[in-house]
Every structure is written in C-alpha cells, then in structure tokens.
C-alpha cells in the first residue's frame, strides 16, 4: 500500500510539475456548482481544496483570495495578473467579467486551509513548507489523512519537520501511547506557545511517563519563548529609540549646538512629512509605475522644504533674538502655531494618507510570534545613515568646522574671518532639514496631520536634555536609552504607567546631573 501511495504522490507531483491538465472531475463539479449558485461559496471552496492533481483548483482558489474571481453568464471567470479575463473551466479568454466575490472572515479561513492543502502538493519545497506551517496553525482532522500521506513521501527534511509539527496536535489525542510520546517530542523540539494549552493537561495527567515528557516539553517551549521575548523587547526598544533619534537629531543641532529653544522643531518634522505626502501625490499622478520608490525622491524634497523654512525663520525672526532665550521661546512657539495653521489651510485639518510602499509593508518572521516589520528595520537603518551623514558634515567638512568654531567661541571665530551670521543660517537650515528627514520616517509609522509635530516636540526635548546639550553622541545615547528603557518597562507595567515612570526617572536624573549624560568639556566663552 505505501508503495502505491508513494507512486500516486510522485505521479501527482509530476503532473503538477509539467502543468499537465490532469482534470479532476471534482473541480469541474465545484465550478459548475459555483456558477449555478454563487452563494454556495463555502462548499465549493472545500471541494476545490480537496481536489487532487488539478492545477485549476489552486488557480481558482488564489483568484478568489485575491478578489479576482467572478461569476457571469453561468461561468466562473477569473482575471489574470495581466488583466485578461479567463474562463476558469478551460482557461479560454472571454470579454467581460462580473463583479468579484466578496469574502467574509469565515470564508477566508476556509479558503486559507483550502489553498494550503493545494500548495502542499506544489513542487517548490518553500511553498510546501509555508503550506505545512499554515495548516499547523489550524489543526483539523479533515486534513489529517493528506498530511500523513505526504509525510510518508516527503523528501525535503524541513518540510517533513513542518508536516510532523502539523500532525503532532492530532497525535496527542491518539490512543497509541508511543505515538503520543513521539508527538510530545516533536512539540518539545519545535512547538510554539499554542502547544502549551494542549500539553498542560497531559503534564497534569495520570500517566507518569507522558506527564514527565510533557513537563519537559513545556519548559523547553517556555525557555525558547523567553529568549524570543527578550530579543523582541530589545528590538522594539531600538526601533523606538531610532524613531526618537530621527525626531530629535534636528533639535540636537538647533537647540543643542546653537542654543535656540526651538519650539517650532516639531513643525519641521511635520513639513517633512507633508513633503512626503506631496511627493507621493506627484508620483501617483505622473509616475505610477515607479510609485514604490517615491520615498527616495521624498528624502531630498523633505530636506529642502524644511531647510528652506528653517532658513527663512532664522533670517527673519531668530537672528534678532540671539541671546534672548525667553523671547526666542515665545517667537518660535508663535511660529509653530502659524505653521500649523498654514498647513491646515492648505491641506485641511484632516489627517492625510501616506501609504507604505510595498517593500516597507509586512515583515520578516524570524520566529513564530516574533516579526520584525520592514518599516521598523528601515527606520533603524535610516537613523544610522542620517546620523552618519550629520556626523560627517560636522567632522569632515569646512562647514562643520565653522559651525563648531562658532558654537565654541563666536567672537574668536568672527575675528578669524568667519561670517558667523551666514554660519548661523546654514546651521539652522541644516538642523531643520534633518528634522525634515525625520518627518519622512515618521510619515511611514504614524499619522500625518497638522498636529504631527506636537506629538514629538516633548520627546525631542527630552532626548536632547537627557543626552546632554551640545553633543550629538548625547542625542544618540538619550534616544536609545529612552527607547530601550521604555520598551523594557512597558510589558511589566503597561503603556500608561511606563510613560509616567519614564518621565519620573528623567526628572530625578536631571536633578542629579543637570548637564545630561554627555557634558561639554572645556570652556565655552559665552556661558
């Protein structure tokens, strides 16, 4: 019997491989039923999922999943990727498609199982692996036979493992003790949190041998999960830290280096985010083919937009207020209100939609329950790049040298022939531009609205003050420190208390060390 099974499976795989139409009458029946009664979707999906060796089944199921399946004129039709409409029965092209099937969650669940059942028969081991994983999430006796059959013939070791894992929850209920023990072993090796609920009753059960094995499996699952949690928290902390750093880096320049208490910093972030929105709109209209790459074009646009606004503010208002911190604070606060209202008038009070490009949606699943979203990873990389760029400007260019000399000793720098006013404008524009870059990153994570900046201004000041005014390294340490501590506190005490605890901690820290983590050493003439 197993030889026969193996043979049929091999034949099936071969059929799928060459794409031969091994038409399964069940598929024809299901399609006919669906065409006759579009409401009988659930039964048809189940029938298609159970079909064997007919490539049409998977094609129809996938079309249904992606909203490309319709019924018109007594035929089931599907729209292919290139926009042609094909008859599902025989693949003939037809002219018109009806309106696509609507799905509900209940249908989507059944559809997921049906697609996975078909994909288990695929030739690509990666596809089989994913399908086995999907079936493992929803163990059901309905697919047990298929799983066992494939486990016997599967050549790929990883897929075999995944199939065994999908079968383990079903084996736990088996009457055969050896089989149960083996299932516990499989779960101990690869089981996830979900297996806990199944293992716990066995661990407390009567059979000492089974109970011991189950307890061992539980503790192994627990250990794995603990490690993953710690790694997850660290990643979340780094990610939040990099967001804070991007939000605060501009302020570290305008407030940290220049000493301008810049209440309009948040609005520079906001302008950067709106620049992203505008660039997105332009791409959507004129370059829809390159839409996925609009963010790259948004970076220089956001930098320039914020830098220009920053330069204008410096030239018209701030330049007359140097050395008068209180007036600067009030003036920049006023500017921030003006900017918010201006944006509200131009773009409306509503939040605007900034879509994530496809390459920033989703994430890598490094382990079950631990997904590293692409937009978070990209934010971390982006923060590092921006930081490197700012550092290079300050340490390696003439402008950087001038900025440093002006901030250290304005009078002496002027005496050496440096146009300090010009340097002030350029520095403020640079700080604002960097904030604009931060705005691009923020637009990918949260809301873009006129009040976007207000949400980040306090955090930004916190980062700069905690890190130590006047040092870029301080901003880095402050941002990452705040991010990681926040994320380590949050699972323990919750989001609301975590935020309060963090603020309390900063108050205490500033009491003890008013100069922040990194203090400027040496003499500053103006202080």
């Amino acid at each position: 019997m197993p030889i026969l099974l193996r043979l049929t499976a091999a034949v099936l795989l071969l059929c799928a491989a060459v794409g031969a139409r091994a038409a399964d009458p069940a598929v024809d029946q299901a399609l006919a039923n669906l065409a006759a009664d579009p409401k009988a979707l659930r039964a048809s999906v189940e029938a298609l999922g159970g079909a064997r060796g007919d490539p049409r089944a998977l094609a129809v199921l996938e079309a249904l999943r992606d909203g490309r399946l319709s019924v018109a004129g007594g035929e089931v039709l599907m729209r292919s990727a290139d926009g042609r409409v094909l008859r599902a029965r025989d693949g003939a092209a037809v002219a018109e498609a009806g309106s696509a099937f609507g799905l509900t969650n209940a249908l989507r669940r059944g559809l997921g199982t049906a697609v996975a059942r078909q994909q288990l028969l695929a030739t690509d081991p990666q596809v089989r692996l994913a399908a086995a994983g999907a079936l493992a999430e929803r163990p059901s006796t309905e697919v047990e036979g298929l799983l066992r059959e494939l486990l016997a013939t599967e050549a790929d070791a990883r897929v075999r493992k995944a199939l065994a894992l999908a079968l383990a929850p079903l084996d736990l209920d088996s009457a055969d003790k050896a089989r149960r023990l083996a299932a516990i072993g499989v779960l101990a090796e690869d089981g996830e949190l979900a297996a806990r609920g199944l293992l716990e009753p066995i661990a407390q059960g009567r059979d000492p041998e089974l109970a011991q094995a189950a307890r061992r499996a539980l503790s192994r699952i627990g250990e794995r999960q603990w490690l993953r949690d710690q790694f997850g928290n660290l990643f979340f902390g780094l990610s939040l830290g990099s967001v804070l750093l991007l939000a605060a880096l501009g302020l570290a320049i305008t407030f940290g280096l220049m000493g301008v208490i810049n209440m309009a910093h948040g609005e520079m972030l906001m302008i950067g985010a709106y620049a992203t929105y505008v660039v997105q709109g332009l791409f959507r209209q004129y370059l829809p083919g390159a839409f996925d790459w609009y963010l790259l074009a948004a970076l220089p646009a956001a930098f320039v937009a914020s830098a220009l606004v920053g330069a204008a503010i410096e030239r018209t208002v701030l330049r007359h207020l140097y050395g008068r911190p209180l007036e600067t604070l009030l003036a920049t606060f006023g500017i921030s209100l003006i900017l918010i209202q201006t944006v509200r008038v131009i773009f409306g009070a509503q939040n605007v939609e900034v879509a994530n490009p496809a390459w920033l949606s989703g994430g890598i699943e490094v382990a079950t329950n631990l997904v590293l979203p692409y937009n978070r990873l990209a934010t971390i990389v982006f923060a590092v790049l921006v930081l490197a760029g700012v550092w290079t400007i300050f340490q390696k260019t003439r402008l950087g040298l001038r900025v440093r000399s002006v901030t250290q000793n304005r009078g002496m720098a002027a005496a050496m022939g440096i146009d300090t006013r010009r340097v002030d404008t350029l520095t403020f524009a640079l700080g604002s531009g960097v904030a604009g870059l931060g705005g691009v990153a923020l637009s990918q994570l949260g809301n873009v609205g006129p009040e976007l900046g207000q949400a980040y201004i306090i955090d930004s000041f916190m980062v700069v003050v905690l890190g130590g005014v006047g040092k870029l390294a301080g901003a880095v340490a402050g941002a990452l420190g705040l991010g990681v501590v926040n994320k380590l506190l949050e699972p323990a005490v919750g989001a609301v208390l975590g935020k309060i605890a963090l603020l309390g901690f900063i108050i205490l820290f500033i009491q003890k060390r008013p100069q922040g983590l990194f203090a400027l050493k040496g003499r500053a003439v103006e202080s």
């Binding site: 909203g67 609507g102 799905l103 509900t104 969650n105 209940a106 989507r108 669940r109 997921g112 999430e137 996830e192 949190l193 979900a194 297996a195 806990r196 609920g197 199944l198 999960q225 949690d229 997850g232 928290n233 979340f236 990610s239 939040l240 967001v243 409306g348 009070a349 509503q350 939040n351 605007v352 939609e353 879509a355 994530n356 949606s361 989703g362 994430g363 699943e365 079950t368 329950n369 631990l370 997904v371 979203p373 692409y374 937009n375 978070r376 994570l445 949260g446 809301n447 609205g449 009040e451 949400a455 994320k487 949050e490 699972p491 919750g494 989001a495 609301v496 935020k499």
Partner: protein, 432 residues
Amino acid sequence: MRSKSKTFLLSSLAAGLVFGMAGAHAADTIKVGILHSLSGTMAISETSLKDVALMAIEEINAKGGLLGKKLEPVVVDPASNWPLFAEKARELLQKEKVAVVFGCWTSVSRKSVLPVFEELNGLLFYPVQYEGEESSYNVFYTGAAPNQQAIPAVEYLMSEEGGGAKRWVLLGTDYVYPRTTNKILRAFLHAKGVADDDIMETYTPFGHSDYQTIVADIKKFASAGKRTAVVSTINGDSNVPFYKELGNAGLKATDVPVVAFSVGEEELRGIDTKPLVGHLAAWNYFMSIDAPENKAFIEKWKAYVAKNKLPGGDKRVTNDPMEATYTGINMWAQAVQQAGTTEVDAVRQALGYQTFKTPSGFVESLDAKNHHLHKPVYIAEIQADGQFNIVWKTEGPIRAQAWSPYIPDSAKKVADWTYPWVCGNCTEPKFK
C-alpha cells in the same frame, strides 16, 4: 415692523416679554444651536456632524421651515476644550435662546454640558455611541448604548460564524468611555463563562503611537491555543499606528479579528486599508447599507458637499454619527410640528413618541422612557476600498438599555421619564 398692524405689534411685544426680550429677529426664525468642535483634536470627527446638521436644516427650510418660520442655525466652536463646551452651551441657551442644541462627541464633553442643560431646561441631541449609564431629562441620545453596539459585537465574535472566540483582548484609550465599556464587557463575558485568565485589558494614553509591544503581547496572548478576538475602543488618531502595526506584524483578521467601536468610514479615510481587510466594526449605520433611504441620504450629502465646496470633495463619506445627527434633527422637527411650539417641555412630550424612517433602512423610534433611540445593529468587515461589508445585522431596531444589567450597581437602576417613575437613575418610582 412699520407695515405690521397694531395687534401684531402688541402680540409680538407680549411674546417678547414672555420669551425674555428675544427681539424682533427671533420672532420670525427658530434658532437651532450646533455645538461641535471645529478645531483641535476632535475636529477630525466633529466637523462632518456640523456639516450634516446644516444640510438637514437647509432641507427643512426648503420645505417651508417649521410652524411657518425658517430655522436659523447658530454654529459655535468649543474647540475640543471640555470646559469651553459648557460655556458655549450656556451662551447658546441664554444669549442666543436656541430652541434645541445638536452637539458633543466625546463623553467627557457631554458630561461637561449636562449640568448646563439641566439647569436652564435646554434640549440636547447627542448623536454618538457611548458607554451608557446615563439618562437625562434634557438629553435625547440618538447614538448607541452598549447593548446596541458593544454587546452584539462580542456575541457575534463568540458565534460559530464570527470565529468562535474564547479569549478576549480589551484594548482602549485611557478615559471614561473605554473604561466603562470594558467594565460592562468584562461583566458580560463573566456571565458567558469566560474566566479572568482569558481576558486581557490594556489601555494606552491619548495619542499613543508606538503599538509594537501591545501588538506583540496580543500575538502572544492569542497563541495560547484558544481562538482570540480583540475589542478595540481606541479613539482618534491612535488607530492609524495601531492598524499599521497590526498589518506589518502579520496579525490577520482570519486569526485574530479586531472589532472596533470608534472606527468608521470617516476614520478610515486617513488609512491605507489593504492590510486591514476583514477586521470589523460594529455600528448602527454603514454607508454601504443597501436601502433606498440610504441612497437618497448619500446623494443628498454628495450634492450638499459639491454645492458648498466642502473640503475633501467627492472623497467625503457618510457615517454612523452623521446618520444619527440627521435622524435627530428630523425627529425634533416632527415633534415641533406636532406640539405646535418650540417650547422645550411640550417638544419633549411629543419627542418620546416620534418615529422616522432613517437611512439605516428601518423605522426607528425614540423611547419616551429612557430618551434613547431604538436602533438596528450592524456588524461589518473592512474592505480594501475603505468601505464596510455587512456580515451580520439584527432583524430590526432594538431598545437601548441606558443602565447596563451586567454591572450590579447599575442593574438596579431604572431610566423612565414617564409617570410614575419620572427619573433617570432611580431604584424606585418617584410617585407611588
């Protein structure tokens, strides 16, 4: 006034005296107050309620007004500032002498104006779903009470069709509405045999934007082997980062459905909805309802938006609180016609027995006893285009329970403004 006869002059003088020197202008129009935030954080949601109220008033005026007079809207902006709501309410009632006020969104703003309306015997129509536990003599609630939204949504998710959820995450913004709703839901889940171990309750501050940890926690909580559902009472902007994180973390609606009570068509306008397909919302009205009344309502709204060139243009949508506002104004107009006066006590008597065929496709009626609207309940899944696909609905309107039977203290209370109770929160009738 020059051309008017002497008798009219006399009678209008007398009327002026009776109504506290309302002036000649007030005599030929009926003033209607609109109390919605047009700036600040709530402007996002409340602006369209102001717009739809003006549309309804225009519509009534086009039909000749009420009692032979035109309606005159008085729009004020309480700027999302809760104490300012009370001040503006007082201004509307005392200075402008409005006959009725349509307004408020957040529960905290309603609580702020409540004493003003009760002191000055004003009339307020409140159009938003809320946590219940209230019934005022001076307020008519045209939004849903918990048994008209939250409880049916949870029951649906418990059902076979909804996924048979056994474990629950109650996630909300940290203020009175989510806290009270979750208190009721927890009591309800207990009554259905759900243990405390299977309920996770989490709150975030207003404007929270980093949902990584919470989404990871939900994932962990959901992987305990039982089917899990999330009930979200997150309000306002925070929904965007929350749903983005959900999508990116791969938490699909087929595995862990999220049902939201404060997310409608208007809120989804700012979100890319593709990763959210299948997540749910429970309301008493959806723009996608297939009913002739709804079609007419949407057409009217689109025409009004186009005519007045409202911001957003053809992307503007209708939603549940807008429908409730529209229903409220029409019911009030009917009551005024019946009472033959705009005087609050008479209109209130008439209001208790009004029915109106609303855009939800049902004839809804105001309850004379608890001042709430009988409403149908719809549960719908988010679609890729930002609209909702209705998957479940009640057969007809259901009566609101102002006081939740699931909380022991409130279960004893009765809201009944008819004889012999005449009370919004009593345990025994006033007149025996």
